[in-house]
């Protein structure tokens, strides 16, 4: 018998693609019909979507924990802001240069710390996030501290600048889709399967010939690159940067998005980013209490729907159909 070359037939994956397509269509429609504030909200969703797609490489695919991903957004944001406002760099070039710096720093930090496991790694990344915040707040000659950096130019390539919010949203969505495509393709590759194996059992992966440390480091570098890009795009979109933009709140938001949508799935984090961005509008009246709401949502998800809302809803529907 010739063994059939079978591809894995996973119903959850197909469902995700449908979800993804619906969201992509809705978002594209928004570019044309959306007005003022809605466009801003969607732009934030797209920027965070890029951030959490990167975080998902490390926390979802590779099953590690990082509380310090905001550090790379800060490097990206401040890198691009400083290069563009002080040295008149081209925005796209500044974005890429900051990304390279982020990956370098991620390598310098990840190389020693990723050999640690569990709590130690989480604490090391947490420290990284705190340090980046302190630097952005107190290295005033560079970052202008709490005063912030104003007049950051909008995104653009060469002389071409995207001045309108609508154009910027379109560009963000294109970048987001590119990021998701890379994430989806890598997940289905040998690289992605090895990452899942590391997430499943480090010892077992190691004993099958997978260089666990190298994969963890790669996932960390990729997530740093995404985080950095998100930070740069944020700076270009808002046009103003202060340390709060990349503080602890970013981690709380990122975690809520990634777990709400479904950690380790390709589209889940994007769905989470969209929902949280919309929720943040609903909860705007709460002001400082917002973080409390997100943390509560996060805890509830981890208890009742640890695989995220997409899996939760489909399993509810299936149960109802069977009942």
């Amino acid at each position: 018998m010739r063994s059939p070359v079978i591809t894995s037939n996973n119903p959850a994956a197909r469902l995700q693609i449908i979800f993804g397509a619906i969201i992509a269509v809705l978002l594209s429609a928004l570019i044309f019909v959306g007005q003022g504030y809605l466009i801003t909200v969607m732009a934030f969703a797209a920027i965070y979507g890029i951030f959490v797609t990167g975080l998902n490489f490390f926390m979802g695919y590779a099953g590690q924990v990082s509380f310090g991903q905001n550090a790379f957004a800060a490097i990206g944001g401040y890198g691009t802001a400083i290069l563009c406002t002080r040295y008149n760099w081209d925005p796209s070039l500044a974005l890429m240069a900051s990304m390279a710096l982020s990956v370098l720093i991620a390598g310098a930090v990840g190389y020693p710390t990723l050999r640690l496991r569990g709590h130690n790694l989480a604490m090391a990344t947490f420290a990284l996030g705190l340090i980046s915040y302190e630097i952005s707040a107190h290295w005033e000659s560079m970052t202008q501290g709490y005063m912030g950096i104003p007049s950051i130019p909008p995104m653009g390539i060469g002389g071409l600048s995207l001045s309108g919010e609508r154009q910027q949203l379109a560009a963000l969505l294109v970048i987001l889709l590119l990021g998701i495509m890379i994430s989806g393709r890598l997940r289905q590759s040998r690289f992605g399967r090895a990452l899942s194996a590391v997430a499943g059992s480090e010892d077992a992966a190691h004993a099958l010939g997978i260089a666990v440390f190298r994969y963890k480091l790669s996932a960390f570098l990729i997530s740093a690159a995404y985080g950095s890009a998100a930070g740069s795009l944020y700076a270009h979109f808002v046009g103003f940067l202060s340390p709060e933009a990349f503080g602890l709140q970013m981690i709380i938001w990122g975690f809520t998005m990634i777990f709400l949508g479904g950690v380790g799935t390709t589209w889940g984090p994007i769905i989470g980013a969209l929902l949280v961005a919309l929720l943040s509008e609903a909860f705007r009246g709460l002001k400082d209490l917002q973080d409390l709401v997100y943390c509560t949502v996060l805890v509830l998800i981890l208890i009742f729907a640890p695989k995220g809302i997409v899996v939760f809803i489909t399993s509810l529907l299936r149960r109802r159909r069977e009942a």
């Binding site: 063994s3 399967r193 194996a197 499943g200 059992s201 010892d203 004993a207 010939g209 260089a211």
Partner: protein, 237 residues
Amino acid sequence: MVTSALLDVRNLSARYDRVEVLHSANVTVGEGEFIAVLGPNGAGKTTLLRALMRLAQSSGEIVFRGNNIRHLSTNDRAKLGMILVPEDRGLFGAMTVYENLIVGAYTARNRPDIDQRLEQVFTVFPRLLERRNQIAHSMSGGEQQMLAIGRALMAGPKLLLLDEPSLGLAPRMASDILSTLGALNRGGLSILLVEQKAPLALKLAHRAYILAVGRIVTQLNAEEFGSHHALARYYFE
């Protein structure tokens, strides 16, 4: 004989933190041999296998396929063909059977190799072919053990290390799994099997080591299995 051994372990001691749990073990596995390591709970059987894979700290010499692998990492040892089926099976629970098998073939670079190994695994365990789209952790204990062994076969082992594959299985399933190992060995695969269920293992093994409190206390050849009092004495002590 020792010089031509597939695996030659000299004075292997292993520790967890500062507690030494395996003391100066000497073990050889010849090409095509089926070796059993027997001993009660806590004798150091699992530690022996983990030390061979460098999943536990150890000292001593390990020569595998003529290479001194003392300084090789776990993944490099796997690449040389030393493949472990761990005690907890170490399956990737959220992946399908098929995905688990494909990850098993991680070190195989080309598709024809992988397909050929898949074919072999599905011939050995037809159940895995039926269950190929099932999520690993949703299968029965016996099926999971088949998958753990199947995944190890995907890695193209020269020496298969197995840590109590019968653990937690119904007697019938346990003996099925072990006779499958016997068949694989007759097909040329060298096996180092750690077991608590001595009678099952002794039916298949060419030689056996008895391990008690971290020391190898005796070594038996197949013809000694039935009569040797040492076996009963060390095993039940």
